[in-house]
């Protein structure tokens, strides 16, 4: 007495948000039924497990049929097959493109290639995200990457228009695309304490200040590639550490400004040359792709870790970096103020964001 066929179709497509989430999370129909039972849906309505199963099957089928449209969200708005009110469409898209922070943290900066896709089961096992959900998220990243790769104009705006995402989600995707394109190393042990949101913030800073798009907004890949000329100019900053006079002058200026304002003053004074060398060296090496990839690990190793071992507070770091940046302007023989500002602006905000436990 098997139920051979069981369908339920509404003129306005009927979708349950809870089931949608279960589907997105990669639950099988049977697991979803269990979760729903545990959630107590049956109590509020006189129903049995069969009813729940049939309902879940119906919804899963609907979602599967919608998936093709969700992959190119612009089509969802003017397709005729499913009648879905606009605000529901927005919800469907937003949820479909939502991702788990723990998952994205694992693939951030990796090449969005078949090789990575093969590792998804490992990542799934590690993060507790189902393989199906991992695949969806990974494919989403890849799809967005492919589409915006060939587009001109601002990255965030392109993502938002092509995938009809909210501003927040579009920015996150921009960060993912940016990281994947530049292959930033994020997986090292020392970087493990950083969350996706930390990186997303940094990506935003880099996109806004260091890419080609920061100076010219009508080039291809403008927000994805770093501004080569700028990276070249960064080499000029080397003078801050190679010229001994300049280095000493800089140090004394900073120390004068800092004296009495913080408990960590002695450590700051002692470490100034080391820290300054670290930051400037990062700047001068950025012309090498390899060093660009290590940008975050360098920041941690050369600056954040020494500060942390000296128990600087966040306020200390802020104070130090502000004065470190500003003092360079007073140096008479230092001619690269504009590049310095463009560089330090980003470094400063990145370090602020990254300086936590």
């Amino acid at each position: 007495m098997a139920v051979e066929l069981d369908v339920f179709v509404g003129n306005t497509t009927i979708m349950d948000e809870e089931v949608y989430q279960l589907w997105l999370d990669g639950y099988t129909v049977n697991d979803a039924v269990k979760v729903r039972m545990a959630g107590g849906v049956l109590d509020e309505c006189e129903a049995n497990q069969d009813v729940l199963l049939s309902d879940t099957m119906d919804q899963y089928r609907t979602f599967q049929m919608c998936e093709r449209l969700l992959q190119s969200p612009a089509k969802l708005a003017n397709q005729l097959l499913f009648q879905i009110p606009p605000h529901r469409q927005t919800m469907l898209i937003e949820r479909y493109y939502a991702f788990d922070d723990s998952f994205v943290r694992e693939v951030l900066g990796k090449k969005l290639s078949k090789g990575t896709k093969k590792d998804l089961d490992d990542i799934g096992a590690k993060t507790g995200v189902t393989l199906k959900s991992c695949r969806r998220q990974f494919d989403n990243f890849k799809r967005v990457f492919k589409v915006v790769e060939e587009l001109k104009g601002p990255l965030v705006e392109n993502i938002r228009q092509h995938f009809l995402l909210s501003d927040k989600l579009a920015r996150d995707y921009a960060a993912i695309v940016f990281f994947a394109n530049n292959r930033f190393e994020t997986g090292k042990k020392k970087l493990q304490y950083l969350t996706f949101q930390d990186f997303a913030f940094c990506a935003g800073q880099l996109i806004n200040n260091w890419t080609v798009g920061a100076v010219d907004n009508m080039v291809e890949d403008m927000d994805v590639d770093l501004d080569k000329e700028f990276l070249q100019e960064l080499k000029e900053l080397k003078v801050l550490i190679t010229d001994k006079d300049l280095l000493d002058q800089h140090k004394s200026l900073v120390c004068t400004a800092l004296r009495g304002k913080t408990k960590a003053f002695t450590e700051m004074e002692a470490n100034f040359k080391n820290l300054s060398r670290g930051l400037v060296n990062i700047a001068t090496k950025l012309t090498n792709t390899k060093d660009v990839r290590d940008f975050f690990i360098d920041l941690v190793e050369k600056f954040i870790e020494p500060c942390r071992s000296d128990r600087w507070t966040s306020a200390d770091v802020k104070l130090y970096l502000t004065h470190y940046t500003n003092s360079a302007h007073i140096l008479d023989s230092f001619k690269h103020q504009a590049v310095w500002d463009r560089y330090m602006g980003v470094i400063k905000s990145c370090i602020f964001k990254m300086y936590h436990d």
């Binding site: 051979e4 069981d6 339920f8 509404g10 129903a47 397709q79 005729l80 605000h87």
Partner: protein
């Protein structure tokens, strides 16, 4: 040469990739009407081609305009091999032929392929220029309006109701032609779709001609059905009610129309107080007993009433007498010619005073007799000459005659809420017709429903027949309302609850379900077996209905629909109706259990416990449905027929022919209690099944009529859904009992599923629940292992909230529709001022459709109205037929996945057509057919769906009214529903 059809192909979008190498498509379009074909240029390498073609002009007869659909084929150009078809769009241009309906068809249509489903969309513009044709002998009937709605459409007034119109056309089914063996499935499906489209066009035109002959201008309650008779052909038939409709706003007062002209005037006019004196001379006594049907229910007779001895004989005589072939036609020959002649004359309306309408203006129904129905089992023969559909015609004529005589027996001169349907299995076909016998007051004019509701009246409850000459045993009492006229104790009808009826409490859906096994057989043996079973099924269904009605403390059924479908080795019966407590009728008695075998103490206790359960259920139901009839002292008890006589009748009819058995099911003569005797396990099972029916959860109301009796406030949130379930019976040796249980569970579970799915919308009302059952037969393995699939499917259920406290999504849904509506409304009002008498300003229309991103929300509802809105224009009838086939069933997610996407596609195509006509809703929507054939072993499945409805433009009522009133309605209703 009276018409010019113009079509323009604008653009396409979301086309499928046809060239793997480039991932693109070189698309072009063929536009075909009749035998003329035009082509657009090839738009190379694009999935979103912009053809922007010239206007393709077809100069055609209006006859062709009515019959033929415009056929648009999208193809992929291939330089070296044959062009590949992407898909097709069939556009029915009928709505353009009517000046009052749509003036242009413009919009995006899904490109449909019978193998791949929807493959992209195409933007098309279609216009028609009609020239006036004064030819008296014309074959076309342009301008006759068709409505599926079974009441006078809103905004119209019926100046005159002319009566019943019917027509049927037959053809060979392309699926069974020899050529089908060599052509592709796609070609065969398309041939079939096209043929059916042509046939329904032809049918509509012919019906239109009849209407014009009668002097009418519209068909209301138009019901079109397909009979896929397999080898023996394809029948498309339709019935309807011819009317002369006037626009409500046209201003002519009703007075002149009320003096009903000749045809209506000839009908006997009945006074309120003398129901049968001037009625048709109905000599009850002279009629054969078999046709004197009881009021709520008429016994089915497998064949016409001429056969008093053995009815199965007649339907089979042709076979036995003259062998196979067209013998049935010969047999019916004389009758046929007689009827043919009659068809030509204006007498026909009187020959069949039938109305397909189900709701009427107050006062139109003088008395309601009860349900009349007739069934007939026929053996199908190959249709030899498609131009002479007499055989099928004659079959239906017989049935209609029988219905008419049943109505006469009830002292009634008309049948309302009339419908016809068939069930076919192999070469056996059951034809059924049913309706409600009534006495009408032809003097009452049909107004539309915007008129003030009349004060409650009880007239229609009063018996139309002579008290002393009752055609069947019944319990009469004086009307509880007026105390002057006699009323029966129960009333069964196929119509909607009249607006003037006074109802106590709320209504609810009542269903009787029944399975009967039968032996597998062929040909006439099979037909005999079926016709022998039918009366028993009717009897049992009726008993079930009656018991369930009493269990709910109700005394009347509305919208009764009984479906009996035939399968290889079983018959399925499903009766659905909405039960109500009519204040004018007496309170139903309880149900009493009586044990046959007394003495056994255990048994006694058992019976007592059952009795207690029944009494508890009745009390609970009274509370649930708020049935608290005013207590009245019983004064006028009619003339109950004494018990002994019934018994004797019972035995006698048993000994006589089988079809009389159902007669006795009305003989529940005892006033207070309906006695159920427990004398064997069957009876116990019956009682169990009686009690098993779960009442809907709190906050849910179900009914199969247009509106829920006892609930009068509606919100605008409406959701229409279709659900199909098929059950495979694994065990070949099932008893009737266990089959019944399975069937009942299936129906109950389906309802439970709905409650569950719609739980967030409480309080909500499921209106117009429409159940359909079918038993598609299935041969699985050649080793004589047969399995059956039970396939009850529900179509066109409708869910409507009555409160404003429904979830945001639905609320926003309706409001978004509304913004569309209001904007469109303003456009059309603008158009009224412009010198152009018809059509929205084209620029506006096209800009909307080119806008791309916005898709008009189109509501669909099986109701004849959309709650909370006002229909401002009827755009024409939607009648579409689709076939979908797959050879990759597993890949599409099995049968469920296949059917799910097909139904979604059908909805999409209906919506697209409505939107292209400029509408925003479909009312009176129904899915007439949904035939699914599958072969999982071959990974194949095929499905046919036929849908119909009326495309309309509606605006929210509150556009004119302040929102606050709306809220008040909702709140007052909350108070109502809270108890």
């Amino acid at each position: 040469m009276p018409g010019k059809l113009k079509a323009k192909i604008v653009a396409g979008r979301h086309l499928p990739v046809m060239d793997r190498a480039s991932d693109l498509t070189d698309a072009f379009v063929e536009v075909k009407f009749g035998n003329t074909t035009f082509k657009t240029d090839v738009f190379p390498k694009s999935l979103n081609p912009q053809w922007n073609s010239e206007w393709f002009k077809f100069e055609v007869d209006d006859e062709d305009l009515q019959d033929e659909p415009l056929q648009i084929t999208v193809l992929d150009h291939d330089t070296y091999s044959a062009n590949d078809a992407i898909g097709k769009v069939y556009i029915d241009i009928d709505p353009l032929l009517c000046t009052e309906a749509a003036s242009v068809i413009s919009g995006w249509f899904p490109i449909y392929d019978t193998i791949h489903g929807i493959r992209g969309e195409i933007n098309v513009l279609v216009k028609v220029e009609l020239f006036n044709d004064l030819n008296r002998f014309r074959q076309s009937s342009c301008g006759v309006k068709f409505f599926c709605t079974t009441s006078i459409p809103r905004g119209y007034r019926a100046a005159m109701v002319h009566g019943f119109v019917e027509e049927l056309v037959v053809n060979e089914d392309p699926e069974y032609q020899w050529i089908d063996r060599i052509r592709t499935p796609r070609a065969s499906n398309e041939a079939r779709q096209r043929l059916i489209s042509l046939m329904s066009g032809e049918l509509q035109r012919k019906i239109g001609l009849k209407v014009l002959e009668m002097g009418g201008n519209a068909v209301v309650g138009y019901l079109q059905c397909f009979d896929l008779e397999g080898e023996s052909g394809l029948v498309v038939r339709a019935i309807g009610t011819a009317c002369t409709l006037e626009k409500h706003s046209s201003g002519t007062p009703a007075s002149n129309a009320c003096n009903s002209p000749s045809k209506d005037g000839k009908e006997p006019v009945f006074g309120e107080d003398l129901p049968s004196s001037s009625g048709p001379p109905t000599p009850f006594r002279n009629l054969p007993t078999s046709s004197s049907s009881p009021p709520p229910f008429s016994p089915s007779k497998p064949c016409s009433r001429q056969s008093s001895s053995s009815d199965t004989d007649l339907s089979l005589t042709p076979k036995t007498g003259m062998g196979s072939g067209g013998s049935a036609g010969k047999e019916a020959g004389p009758l046929k010619t007689l009827l043919r002649q009659q068809t030509q004359t204006a007498l026909e309306q009187r020959e069949f005073p039938f109305f397909t309408l189900t709701s009427f203006p107050p006062g139109f129904l003088v008395h309601v007799g009860g349900v009349v129905s007739a069934r007939s089992v026929k053996l199908l023969d190959r249709i030899h000459n498609p131009d002479e559909p007499e055989t099928r015609d004659a079959w239906w004529e017989e049935i209609r005659q029988e219905i008419k005589s049943h109505a006469k027996a009830l002292g009634c001169h008309a049948v309302v809420g009339y419908s016809e349907n068939t069930s076919i299995c192999e070469e056996v076909c059951i034809l059924s017709a049913s309706g409600t016998a009534t006495i009408l007051n032809p003097r009452v004019c049909f107004f539309d429903r915007f008129d003030d509701p009349s004060p409650p009246s009880c007239g229609f409850c009063h018996i139309p027949y002579d008290e002393l000459n009752m055609p069947f045993p019944a319990q009469l009492t004086y009307c509880y309302n007026c105390r002057r006229q006699k009323v029966p104790d129960v009333l069964f009808t196929t119509i909607d609850l009249p607006a003037e009826a006074a109802v106590t409490g709320k209504g609810c859906l009542i269903q009787a379900r029944l399975c009967r096994l039968k032996k597998k057989a062929q040909g006439e043996v099979n037909a005999t077996a079926i016709s022998n079973l039918l009366p028993f099924m009717e009897y049992e269904l009726h008993t079930q209905l009656m018991n369930k009605l009493k269990l709910r403390s109700m005394n009347a059924l509305f919208g009764l629909h009984i479906q009996i479908s035939v399968g290889e080795n079983m018959l399925l019966g499903l009766a659905s109706a909405t039960g109500v407590y009519l204040t004018a009728l007496p309170a139903p008695g309880g149900i009493q259990i009586a044990g046959k075998t007394s003495g056994d103490l255990n048994n006694e206790q058992h019976i007592q416990s059952i009795q207690k359960r029944i009494n508890d259920t009745i009390a609970k139901n009274k509370e649930l449905y708020q049935i608290n009839p005013p207590e009245l002292t019983e004064e006028g008890v009619g003339s109950p027929i004494p018990e002994p006589r019934q018994r004797s009748r019972l035995f006698r009819s048993h000994s006589e022919s089988s079809d009389e058995v159902s007669e006795l099911d009305l003989s529940h003569g005892k006033k207070d209690a309906f006695v159920l005797e427990i004398d064997d396990t069957d009876a116990v099972e019956d009682i169990h099944s009686l009690l098993i029916d779960a009442s809907p959860p709190t906050g849910f109301y179900t009914c199969n009529t247009e509106t829920m009796p006892g609930i009068y406030n509606w919100t605008t949130a409406v959701q229409m859904f279709t659900s199909v379930r098929v059950l495979r019976l694994s065990n070949a040796n099932l008893s009737n009992q266990s089959l019944n249980k399975i069937f009942t569970d299936l129906c109950e579970n389906l309802l439970k599923s709905f409650y569950f799915k719609l739980r967030s919308n409480i309080p909500c009302c499921l209106c117009h629940l429409n159940f359909t059952v079918a038993v598609p037969e299935e041969e699985l393995i050649q080793v004589r292992c047969w399995r059956q699939s039970l396939c009850p499917f529900l179509s066109g259920g409708n869910e409507t909230e009555e409160q404003l406290q429904f979830p945001l999504e639905l609320c926003a849904d309706s409001s978004s529709t509304n913004t569309q509506t209001s904007s469109k409304f303003s456009v059309s009002s603008l158009e009224n001022c412009s010198p152009l008498t018809e059509g929205r300003p084209r620029s506006l229309r096209s800009s909307r459709s080119f806008g791309g991103s916005s898709v008009t929300m189109v509501k669909m509802t099986p109701l004849s109205f959309l709650p909370g809105t006002r229909i401002i224009k009827y755009l024409g009838i939607i009648n579409m037929f689709f076939i979908r086939e797959t050879t990759s069933l597993r890949e599409e997610g099995g049968v469920s996945g296949f059917l799910h996407s097909f139904i979604a596609e059908v909805f999409a195509m209906v919506r697209a057509h409505v939107a292209a006509l400029g509408g925003n809703a479909v009312v009176s929507y129904s899915m007439k057919d949904c035939v699914l054939m599958e072969n999982p072993n071959k990974n194949q499945a095929q499905c046919l769906i036929n849908v119909s409805g009326d495309a309309v433009i509606c605006v929210r009522e509150t556009d004119q009214e302040p929102m606050t009133s709306m809220t008040n309605i909702g709140q007052s209703c909350t108070a109502d529903g809270a108890t």
